[in-house]
Amino acid sequence: MIDSVFVKPGMSPKEIVSCVRNLGAIALTSTGMRDAGQSDYKNRLRMRDLSTLSSEYDAMGLFSSECHGGARWHVGIMNRRESPFEEIALLREKMPNVLLQTLVRETNLWGYRPYPKNIIEHVISRVDIDVWRCFSFLNDVRNMRTVAEIVMKRGRLFQPAISFTQADWTTNAYYLGLVREMVDLCGGTDEIILCVKDMAGVGSPRRIHSLFDSIKQAWPDLVLQYHRHATDGLALPAILAAAQAGAGIVDVEEDSLTRFFGQAPLLSVASYLEESGLKVHLNRKDADVAVQKVREWIGHYEWAESPFKGFDYGVVMHRMPGGAFPSSFEQAQKGGFLHLMPAILKVMSLYNQIVKYFDVTPGSQVTWVTCSGIVNHYAKERGMAGVNHVIQLLARFVEEKNQEFDALMPEDQEELLHLFRTAPGDFRQLIMGNYGKLPMGWPADWVYTSTFGDEGREKIGQRREDSPLDALPDEDLARMRHELTEQLDRSVSEEEFILYLMHPKDALDFIRFREKYGDAPRVLPTDVWHSGLKRAGAKVEFEYRGVPYSIERVSIGAEHDGIIHAVMKVNNQMRVFKIETPRAKKEEIRMAKGLSDIGAPINGTVWRIGNPERGAVKAGDIVHKGEEIANLEAMKMENAIFAPYDAQIVEIPVKINQMVRQGQLLFVLEEVKQVE
């Protein structure tokens, strides 16, 4: 079976590129472990299930497995409670022959803000990935420099990606300009593979053929990869067109994973290309097993699927990327505005002609928040009539008046000049140039007035032309690491620190979750992970650290005062878990926090407040540096509390003979400065 493997981790980029050039067949990247799940299952497909495919991946002759990056990182820590690092480690172990591929944003990496250079360097150099697909939602190739340099210096394969959309302004000449910049950035065509990233699935077969053909004519040696979503229903012919025009690798996913917004089905693509006279490099037998294996667990993810079903040819207008589909519809559902989705998509298709960039993270989020915000605003103020009104207004402006602002009626002008007033901060950042250069230049001046009001004119003068890489000052990593150490009150691993750099708050939640629930996200089957054990006697069995485990539900008691007692058998031993419901009374213990707070050094009893010389002290008293102000007793040992400086006692939140916990607030002091 090993015969099918033609590229392997450890090969230099040059060797990999050369292997693809000499393969004599179209190679495949499976997005089954990343984009497939992101586009149709909100990134909820779990490591435990996906890794069942690894033995097939290891033998089926893929170019790579896209198993990392995009939103998978963030959703991993937030929702699946899986770390991207443990995922890589597991896959390395289970499929050592497969190139692991990530998708990374050029300055945002796997987070949502542009990071300074030193963070990019720190993170990129510590993530063990073989193929680095890197894109810019502005196609601002300058922004890719840092990632490209570090990846190439590490001897890993850099894959610059063109964000593709089909519009009157995205001509072949425009894309060829980008390819030139990328090839120049990477010192030629021998150590890179260039990706055309059709993230919304909008490239018509003819358009795609023309694009690949013109790139191939200009750079015959450049290995091209086509990444395409299936949203418009035309993925297969578009992929064939790309392959016929010279794409060496195409992205696919297991047929059984396909729904509507991810990649095209692997076995179908392979058959279709072969029938059209192209050779495809794939071990069919293993691929078929992988496709069948998916069916064993995909049924557990119905809850994660998009509430919006079916292909959507309208995508060629609204251009919502496949990876954003399920999460956007989920937000609409949770926010109670699912019925407004058609209007939002319509507004998006007009908006993207006013402010031109590519709808892919973080641009797609800017588009989504801005457009859903506008529609919701009108819906709240004026109901459905208002929503229709704003769509008509935008259509009039874009389609009838061809965006000639002065050609609009004064009342329409006035309304447009307020349209973006409530736009999110990211939209403001974007049009100020803080993410980089917009592909077709700045939006029209009225957009600034609409966004910033009277300050619009001033803001136009403040737009930036440089790359955020040059604009952002380095962060103090030592301080940030210290910050995390303080938060966790323990030393932190490098991986935890990187998670924290990407998503500070969510990383903390994740780390605390795993401290409490251990490897539950890794070992539990998905039905139990999602819904628990549903009745007495139900059990879940798994292997963990080389030995079998069984967890059986015995009984779950009624709720009393916000507490439920759950009795479970863990490997036949009865265990009682005390579970707090949201109604549980939280016992508020005030802990010492700031410099003015004096906390208990130990668990114990406050047996004296004050000292033998002066007797008890109380709020309002002045105490002197080094003076004993309280004494705790624990197990018959005394622990004196001394005033750290001359101070007035503001508050004593404990009473004499009260039991206190370590760190519990004993005194609030206010320092008294000596006045001579």
């Binding site: 628990g532 479970m568 018959k636």
Partner: protein, 486 residues
């Protein structure tokens, strides 16, 4: 002549010591009476005894230190002997006298001897008289100035240690590292002495850096036979309380061993000691000199390792001696042929030594070849905040030190589970795995000096703990339904 036959023993103690004494009584088919305070109503020792008497509320002064109530309890239950265990009233002269005056048998040394040795100042004088080396110090200083004067006159440098003269078990002992600390330290030692022992008199001694704590176990009968059961090393302490002990001591050679044991016997003969007792020494490894510290006129926590290496039952011998029997063996019959190690499993946060109270929701210990366990709690026990944090003693023994350490490692690492309260287990494991402990190179300051390193080596990788985290997740999702974050 009073009837010296012990018919029933009241054990004036709780938890580990009470259980230990009751165990030997059970072996010898002697009925026992337990006493208990209100929070100890369902404690382990209560149910091991033949019967049990409530003696008061939680504060020790109202219960386990309440002499009248304890004697009344003995009368009520028909016990004719009282064993005090260790701690509480075990070294209380007045109580020993009250027991005898009440016509009961006191299982321990005479009240006169307790009195003589109970005061650190007095006992030091006696030691000097018996030609036993002692640490330079000053007795009963009235104030900080007097301490300063003594240090100047005797050319003593910091650190020094202030000890409550009737203290013990680490209580009322405060180390002073610099001049400005003297006042507070003196006040603390006095206050703790007053609170724990009702006496605020103190003495001050030079603090011997890197000192090692070695003690000799003595057993003596009422007929003048004083025998030593060799020494124990109790150097590993935190806050002056021992947490790991072993026998024999790895720090001394046979010459010093002979010398230190004979010195102990000589002192105990001199004071006419009977029953079990311990002579404590501080060993200065830099000079190979040992100094008398104190005599503990009672059964010690760590007596078990001596039992393991010598094969005798010290509690049983205490009963024999109390009944007026002669010791059944001579010095030359005692031939230790084993190495034993003990750790004190306290209910404390292992990283801070802060006590951990609460309910022991799970207690599981796999019995294991070469292990002895002395426990004062059971699964489900509450650990009330009023008393000592010791919940269990774990002892291992083997032909050599390596074997004893190896077995202790196995127990702590894979065969013991305590849930519901924190225990010192991770710290203990970290210590016995430390290269300096393994090589025998440590002092009484070992723990404070290596604290961060020891804490950093806590092994968190406990499969059962991890499985329970998973089970907790399943329990919560099963009880509360699919969480909204998922």
């Amino acid at each position: 002549m009073m009837d010296k036959k012990i018919r029933k023993v009241l054990v004036a103690n709780r938890s580990v010591p009470a259980v230990r004494v009751i165990q030997t009584c059970q072996d010898r088919k002697i009925p026992t009476t337990a006493v208990y305070s209100t929070p100890d109503r369902l404690a382990a020792h209560v149910f091991m005894a033949t019967d049990a008497v409530h003696i008061g509320e939680a504060p020790p002064i109202e219960s386990y230190l309440n002499m009248e109530k304890i004697i009344a309890a003995a009368r009520k239950s028909g016990a004719n002997a009282i064993h005090p265990g260790w701690g509480f009233l075990s070294e209380n002269t007045k109580f020993a006298r009250m027991v005898v005056d009440a016509g009961l048998i006191w299982i321990g040394p005479s009240s006169d001897v307790i009195h003589m040795m109970g005061d650190k100042i007095e006992s030091k004088k006696i030691a000097i008289a018996a030609d036993v080396p002692t640490i330079p110090g000053i007795n009963s200083p009235k104030n900080a100035e007097e301490i300063r004067r003594w240090m100047k006159e005797e050319d003593v440098a910091f650190p020094v240690i202030i000890k409550a003269s009737s203290g013990g078990g680490g209580k009322g002992m405060v180390k002073v590292s610099s001049d400005p600390e003297i006042e507070n330290a003196l006040a603390q030692a006095r206050s703790e002495g007053k609170k724990s022992f009702g006496n605020d008199e103190v003495l001050v001694e030079k603090f011997i850096e890197k000192g090692r704590h070695i003690e000799v176990q003595i057993i003596a009968d009422q007929h003048g036979n004083v025998i030593h059961l060799y020494e124990r090393e109790c150097t590993l302490q935190r806050r002056n309380q021992k947490i790991i002990e072993e026998a024999p001591s790895p720090s001394i050679d046979d010459d010093i061993r002979r010398s230190i044991c004979e010195t102990a016997v000589r002192l105990m003969q001199k004071i006419g000691y009977s029953s079990a007792g311990t002579v404590e020494f501080l060993f200065d490894s830099a000079t190979s000199r040992f100094y008398f510290l104190e005599v503990n006129t009672r059964l010690q926590v760590e007596h078990g390792i001596t039992e393991l290496v010598t094969g005798v039952d010290i509690v049983s011998l205490m009963l024999d001696v109390a009944e007026g029997e002669k010791l059944p063996f001579a010095q030359e019959d005692i031939n230790p042929n084993r190495w034993a190690l003990e750790v004190r499993l306290n209910a404390e946060d292992p990283a801070t030594f802060s006590p951990s109270f609460g309910n022991i929701s799970r207690l599981h210990l796999n019995l294991y070849p070469g292990v002895r366990v002395s426990q004062g709690v059971y699964e489900g026990s509450d650990i009330p905040p009023y008393y000592d944090s010791l919940i269990m003693l774990l002892m291992t023994s083997g032909p050599d030190r390596e074997t004893a350490i190896m077995k202790m490692d196995s127990i702590l690492c894979r065969n013991l589970r305590v849930e519901g309260v924190k225990t010192l287990a991770p710290m203990l494991l970290s210590i016995i795995r430390h290269e300096d402990f393994i090589s025998g190179d440590f002092s009484t300051r070992f723990i404070e000096e290596h604290m961060d390193e020891l804490v950093s080596k806590f092994t968190e990788d406990d499969s059962e703990e991890e499985a329970l985290k998973i089970a907790r997740y399943v329990a919560e999702i099963s009880a509360l339904g699919t969480p909204n974050w998922i």
